[in-house]
């Protein structure tokens, strides 16, 4: 039983997804139970992973390049923990809303299980399959309310995502043509020989895969789909998209850069500079676009582009400190952005408008939710006792150490802009009294009981997480440590 744990983590939500379709009554219990089961399975592995070991599972007993293997190492353990933890909270948060039927939970579970599939698999074509499955589920989740804007947003995302994944698949084709295998660890072993004979093809495949993943993580010139998709989707789905789904793209990028194209090739073709430039550009672009938004959820969506820029800068610096900062920021951003989207959903359904100006007075009516919102937005800006500060600090430190002092200036500038747009929202929250406006068409028909247990507790848990990781950053760093040492030294710490 215990050797089958990696596959059980994927199977449990997938099985529950189909059971959810069959049962009308128990859908929520099934969904929650399956995710909790997966979390329990992951936590049984935690002591082995955190001590630097890794768990490899060969599907059907076929080893090596012939079969598909699942690997749980520091990096994939870290990402699967984010996915499952936030996935559980997203499911809990969607419980009070009655209009989410069986298909909603089905799609949610399929997307979560395929995310874990992307994270665990070592076969790069299998990664593509899981990613496409994840994307299909997510397109449908965005279009779930079936209103005009959501359909358009979903279609835009489908076109961009389809092109991105086609690029990824073509890159995989180039890798297969050079090495004759699809297992990532085997490709890595043969690629340095291929690099000597056909350098252009290696660079080509790297460019294709990086472009494909760049579309998925909405790097600046390829970000077109993100603001619509993230802001128009139903709020729990927005949190899922912004908090987790874009992180899967980051995971694939890290995996491909550090496992397939070993760090030496990565340095040789100078791609760390490209990552850094893309990071800087999307950082500044996201920050300045967020500044001019009138729609609260759109502001949060542009803020995602801003924060992912910081992660890319950290990856681009590529030193131990930089990677620690980048991965830690992935965790922090996932927590903070889901808090913000959860809070934004409550604000929007209370005020009946998505405009920031219409939210004035919310802070006096619901101080607890507002407090959580303020904690998370201070974290986004990077103010000391909150977790966002710790990871930004690490990245700035890494930039200075590696001799890129100008990056610190840019990150601080972007943080100042972030402060401008978040403080604008916070200021409005404590303004005049709240006017109950008409409900926007795509935000649901009935007002949900404001002190609903399932609505408020996920927010409190996440806000507490922000404070905890901010006050004890070593907690998060110890989680990231095995992943970083795996990436840099290919050895256990």
């Amino acid at each position: 039983m215990s050797i089958h744990i990696p596959i059980l983590i994927i199977i449990s939500p997938l099985l529950a997804a189909f059971l959810v379709l069959l049962s009308r009554k128990y859908k929520i219990i099934l969904a929650t139970a399956s995710i909790i089961t997966s979390i329990v399975f992951v936590s049984t592995l935690s002591s082995r992973i955190l001590s630097g070991d890794k768990v490899i599972y060969h599907l059907g007993g076929w080893r090596g390049p012939l079969g598909i293997s699942l690997v749980v190492d520091g990096l994939s353990f870290f990402f699967s923990l984010i996915v499952l933890g936030l996935g559980l909270l997203v499911i809990i948060y969607s419980i009070p809303e009655r209009r989410y039927g069986r298909t909603y939970y089905f799609l949610l579970l399929v997307s979560l299980s395929s995310m874990i599939g992307v994270i665990y698999t070592t076969d790069i074509f299998n990664m593509y399959i899981f990613y496409e499955l994840l994307s299909l589920a997510v397109y449908l989740l965005i279009a779930y309310p079936k209103t005009g804007v959501t359909l358009r947003a979903s279609f835009n995302y489908l076109i961009m995502g389809g092109v991105g994944l086609s690029f990824f698949l073509l890159g995989v084709g180039f890798l297969y043509a050079m090495t004759g295998t699809l297992d990532m660890f085997h490709i890595a072993g043969r690629l340095s020989a291929a690099f000597d004979s056909s350098m252009q093809m290696v660079i080509m495949s790297f460019a294709l895969i990086a472009t494909g993943m760049g579309i998925k993580i909405a790097v600046f010139p390829l970000h077109g789909w993100l603001p619509d998709a993230h802001s128009m989707a139903p709020s729990p789905v927005s949190a899922l998209l912004s908090g987790i789904t874009v992180k899967i793209g980051i995971y694939c990028l890290i995996r491909v850069i550090y496992t397939v194209f070993s760090a030496e090739i990565f340095l040789l073709i100078n791609s760390h500079n490209i990552l850094m430039v893309l990071g800087v550009v999307s950082l500044l672009f996201g920050a300045s676009m967020a500044l001019v938004q009138k729609d609260l959820k759109r502001l949060l969506a542009y803020s995602t582009i801003n924060q992912l820029g910081i992660v890319l800068i950290g990856l681009g610096i590529g030193t131990e400190l930089g990677l620690t900062g980048a991965l830690f920021h992935v965790l922090n951003h996932a927590i903070m952005k889901s808090t913000l989207f959860f809070c934004a959903s409550i604000m929007i359904s209370e005020a009946g408008t998505r405009e920031i100006q219409g939210l004035s007075g919310f802070g006096r009516q619901q101080p607890a939710i507002t407090f959580a919102f303020i904690v998370a937005s201070l974290g986004m800006i990077g103010i000391p006792p909150i977790n966002g500060f710790a990871s930004k600090w690490l990245i700035c430190l890494a930039a200075v150490e590696a001799g890129y002092t100008f990056l610190v200036v840019i990150i601080l500038t972007a943080s100042a802009i972030a402060a401008a747009y978040y403080f604008r929202v916070i200021q409005v929250l404590f303004g005049g009294s709240l006017k109950q406006g008409p409900m926007p068409a795509h935000e649901g028909e009935q007002v949900i009981n404001r002190d609903n247990l399932f609505r408020s507790w996920p927010i409190y848990i996440l806000a507490a997480g922000c404070l905890l990781l901010g006050l004890l950053p070593t907690l998060g760093i110890s989680l990231v440590k095995p992943a970083v040492s795996l990436l840099l030294f290919h050895v256990v710490p």
Binding site: E132, L140, A143, G162, G173
Partner: protein
């Protein structure tokens, strides 16, 4: 023109279609053409001149070597075709819904609608 170049050309034609056409259906057609380019690319990777199907028959192991095509890309492409079809089906379903809401498929006009 090697098969690989042709397949990349098909891929590029598809990309051009996705990027430049205004009609949603034509965009989906572009996506399908891209997918077709990828399928051709993988198949031409596995192709060997005068290669046979890689089936090991009883009594054929006699020290002589026969040229066979690489079956793995073909198996992969079966999966990729299925995925491409499901993406196309989903996109067409979305298009039907969009058309019934807005009565247009032109992306320029759609972006003006609120």
């Amino acid at each position: 023109m090697t098969p690989i170049n042709i397949s990349l050309l098909v891929f590029m034609i598809g990309l051009y279609g996705v990027m430049s056409k205004n009609n949603l259906i034509k965009k989906i057609m572009g996506l399908t053409i891209m997918n077709g380019g990828i399928v051709l690319f993988f198949i031409s990777i596995g192709y060997r001149e005068a290669g046979l199907a890689p089936i090991l028959e009883k009594g054929t192991i006699d020290g002589t070597t026969t040229i066979v095509v690489d079956p793995l890309p073909q198996a992969l492409m079966l999966t990729a075709i299925v995925i491409g079809i499901s993406v196309t089906a989903l996109a067409l379903a979305l298009i039907v819904k969009i058309y019934s809401k807005y009565k247009t498929l032109d992306i320029q006009q759609l972006s003006k609608e609120r």
